[in-house]
Symmetry: C2
């Protein structure tokens, strides 16, 4: 399974980078290959200062070795060997009319002292962070998420989309601001084998979601990338990016875990936006588009009618 | 003591704001008075887009009530009433040639159910974060810190400056970057009464430090504020401000504590710089001024010969 999934994400990284390069029309991904001293490594790909994408990172990694202390306590286990691989991406467009997007799909294995797999699971998801809310974009993103879920809900569980949509809203909650990071998407973790669901079923689901990513995101970029915007709207984007930084550094378990376990800092913090502002006690004008966004973030809604 | 110290910091806020306004020559502090629903409140003062200071916050607060759960576990005590007051400031100058500075001086009391003070202590410090290193500025800042310490080291403890300088380097350590936030200063906490040191001795020390702040900082601003700088140097400042954000949101106990205990978010996050950049895997050129700074941050040095 680990080889199959790692081959999948290597290929997916190529596809996603190709799709983003074509959409940008100008920028090309640069690549950094890195090694993890304790075992494994990764392939970081990055665009900075593109025509459409101000900063876009699409990373894969596959790491293995002794489970670090911090992961032992996280998983509530003793010493063990592990393997983990995944694809992580964060895309910060230049235009405030185009939403930021984040996605991650990952697979984890733990071994006993005879190298038998004693536990394995998938995790991941994708979520959208607009600066201006075009409702049809939010609906399109969620519909694409739902379509990928629906294909597998007979095999895995009814209402897969509804469950993972709710988990996404719960996870990307910027608690100290009392608002969501964005308008959500999917979030799932610890997707393990059960009596009725095989690891291959999970593989089929997770790869379905991964493979639907470009379909979920690119049409939105295409629709919004040529809209004009003002300096004030760009400033609003940079202020909202500050909330993105706050979520990632204060609440995001993945980021904090990476920072505290000697992860590759530059690959982890690639998620941070290129230019950010903090303005004291900023509030959008009553009735403005900016206020409309905030209201949705404070009370996440269902984008797809039941 | 609480009234005496709160009166002191009210007055100190006025003095510091006056000194900064005179130095800026243009900007005036705006003021926000706020109330804490559970008891107490504060007076936030702020400059944005000044001629010299791009963002400067000088806050005082005095809060009281039931010790929140999180503070009970922090202090390892049960239910109790508390009082806390302090002055906090963070100043982000426009020019990359002028260092950022942070300071905080605070006093804490806890009470038994008959309102007797069962525990009280002072804490605080100040530290400097340059973007370009002028050694004479670092030495001036530390010398002013040392002078304030030396006046009270006979009464309190020998080598007060050396002790608090070391604690400052340890506290403002940006662990995931393996570098200091800045070139340090003083950091002290849990300064309590003992057989030989009275609370009045601590009061005299802490107020000595507080009152030396403008003397420590303003001459540096005066010396550097009119130096010319390039766009590239401004970009370097904004990248380094990113490290400031990382420290405050990932490691700073005070910030995290505030965010997780329903503190006044806008006053807490006033410490964040106005404009910030994250550039992937940025490294200064070999032999550059930027590299010289990094080397000092990676290996904090003593600025005052023994």
């Amino acid at each position: 399974m680990k080889n199959k999934f790692y081959a999948y994400i290597q290929n997916l990284q190529d596809q996603i980078c190709k799709g983003l390069e074509e959409m940008d029309g100008n920028a090309k991904f640069r690549e950094d290959i890195w090694k993890r001293p304790e075992g494994g490594g990764g392939r970081t790909r990055l665009i900075e200062s593109g025509s459409v994408f101000e900063k876009a990172g699409v990373n894969i990694s596959a790491v293995h070795g002794k489970l670090p202390d911090s992961m032992q306590s996280l998983f509530n286990v003793g010493e063990a060997d592990f393997f983990a691989c995944g694809l992580s991406l964060v895309i910060h467009p230049k235009s405030p009319m185009v939403p930021t997007v984040h996605a991650n799909w990952r697979y984890f294995e733990m071994y006993d002292d005879k190298s038998n797999v004693i536990n394995s699971w998938f995790g991941g998801g994708q979520d959208l962070t607009p600066y201006y809310l075009f409702e049809e974009d939010a609906i399109h993103f969620h519909q694409t998420c739902k379509k990928a879920c629906d294909i597998h809900s007979d095999v895995i569980e009814k209402n897969l989309y509804e469950k993972y949509k709710k988990q996404c809203d719960a996870y990307f909650w910027n608690a100290h601001r009392n608002e969501a990071r964005g308008i959500g998407g999917l979030f799932f973790d610890y997707c393990k084998e059960s009596e009725t669901v095989k690891m291959d079923d999970w593989y089929n689901f997770v790869t379905e979601v991964g493979s639907s990513f470009l379909e979920a995101y690119l049409p939105i970029v295409e629709k919004r990338k040529n809209l004009t915007y003002t300096d004030q709207q760009k400033t609003w984007q940079e202020i909202r990016r500050g909330r993105y930084v706050e979520f990632n550094l204060v609440h995001d378990k993945g980021t904090l875990f990476g920072l505290k376990t000697n992860g590759r800092i530059e690959s982890i913090l690639m998620s941070l936006p290129p230019k950010v502002q903090w303005v004291y006690d900023h509030h959008p004008d009553t009735g403005s588009e900016e206020e409309k966004l905030i209201k949705i973030l404070e009370n996440p809604i269902n984008w797809i009618a039941d």
